[in-house]
Symmetry: none
DNA sequence: CAGCCTTCTCAGCGAGGTCTCAGGTCAGGG
DNA sequence: CCCTGACCTGAGACCTCGCTGAGAAGGCTG
């Protein structure tokens, strides 16, 4: 049945990966950056039930649509309690499945956080969180705005005038304040990690290395 | 009354179908793909009570708002136990009805679990109950609304302006009132338990830690 | 009407963030 | 090798932001 679904969904325009047992599926879900997971309860090696539980325990919030036989050991309430986002019992209509998938994808499209990255440096504008090599970094609002601007233009050389305009919203301020804040940033995201992501381009401005320095 | 409601809601921009008895309503709910169902308890042929029960038994999770006379055979707890998502007793204000409908639609846009959690902090919107580490916490309506909003957006930084818009339904109020209520909340859900779930992000707003602080 | 609860305003305070300044360091050109 | 201009940085003044206690206003209940 999985193969049939795969062909059908691919014809629908989805890109589909298939896992043949729970362990493989869990591994793929962890590392594959999927938009959605379709999870059968009855799986070899590790039940869909446990795959779902495990993913949620790891704070992986990928949308999950569960499938199960009607009289299975687990019922819909269990599935939803475990953190599944939707649930279908066999036999289900293929059309219904696709409709539910689209609904889940639509729902999630709006919430998907746009996280900026440069090497092992990441910045999440919505959560206002910055991480270097998976450890959190605390920034003040001004520092955060500056880093966000540099990351949005990573690999480009950005002049102090541009920075003043976009981060400070002025143009006739002493550019030294930019130098000062670049210094603050370096001491928080580069120096403690032995990196050099924020580079000075003498006479031109600064460049944030796209590979994180 | 049903016809009056239909006209009012249509004026409000909703598309409304009307059923004249329980059996017809059940049939329409089954096949109509509605965003929400408003269900009177007292119906000819099949009570609203039984319509709700039947739909849930069929694993139809369309949001249901129940209406009933004040001293009816069934009370609010019965309705909620049956799987209704919200409940109004007659006489009710039309404005309140619309507000609840919108709240249900909004809530269901994410088909989230009925109970919001963040670590050992939990909030049940339907039952208006909050618990920290399994012990109940008493909140005023305003405090509850604020916590609910923060929990729906846990881990995100939420600005005072957003909070004012969604919890106070204004945008040009002195943001200090938010600070005051955040203070109240902390003294009820964080301080007595030695937690720090509600974090200040200076210059940006507040963040409710997803793991409960 | 009295008492209680809730909401909201206000003003003071203290921590933390921003920015200026001056002196130090460094790169590049003559 | 020295000069010059660009950049870096430590120190500190200033001031904004957020927290809090006090209390007024309004509503609900008994």
């Amino acid at each position: 049945m999985a193969a049939a679904l795969q062909r059908g969904l691919q014809a629908e325009g989805f890109a589909v990966d298939l896992a043949h047992d729970g362990e493989q599926g869990l591994h793929q879900a962890r590392h594959g950056d999927y938009d959605i997971v379709v999870l059968d309860i009855m799986l070899p090696r590790l039940s869909g039930y446990n795959v779902c539980k495990q993913l949620r325990a790891e704070e992986n919030w990928v949308p999950i649509l569960m499938l199960s036989a009607k009289d299975g050991e687990y019922d819909m309430a269990d599935g939803l309690d475990l953190g599944a986002d939707d649930y279908l019992t066999k036999p289900f209509s293929y059309v219904v499945l696709v409709a539910r998938l689209r609904a889940l994808l639509r729902r999630d499209a709006g919430r998907r956080p746009a996280v900026l990255t440069a090497g092992d440096l990441s910045l999440d504008p919505a959560r206002r969180k910055v991480e270097r090599a998976a450890s959190p970094v605390e920034l003040t609002p001004r520092e955060f705005a500056l880093l966000e601007y540099l990351m949005r233009r990573h690999d480009e050389v950005v002049s102090k005038a541009e920075i003043l305009e976009h981060v400070w919203d002025t143009f006739d301020t002493d550019p030294n304040v930019v130098e000062v804040y670049v210094g603050y940033l370096r001491r928080k995201v580069d120096v403690p990690f032995g990196r050099n992501a924020i580079q000075t381009v003498r006479g031109a401005g600064y460049r944030l290395a796209g590979d994180g320095g």
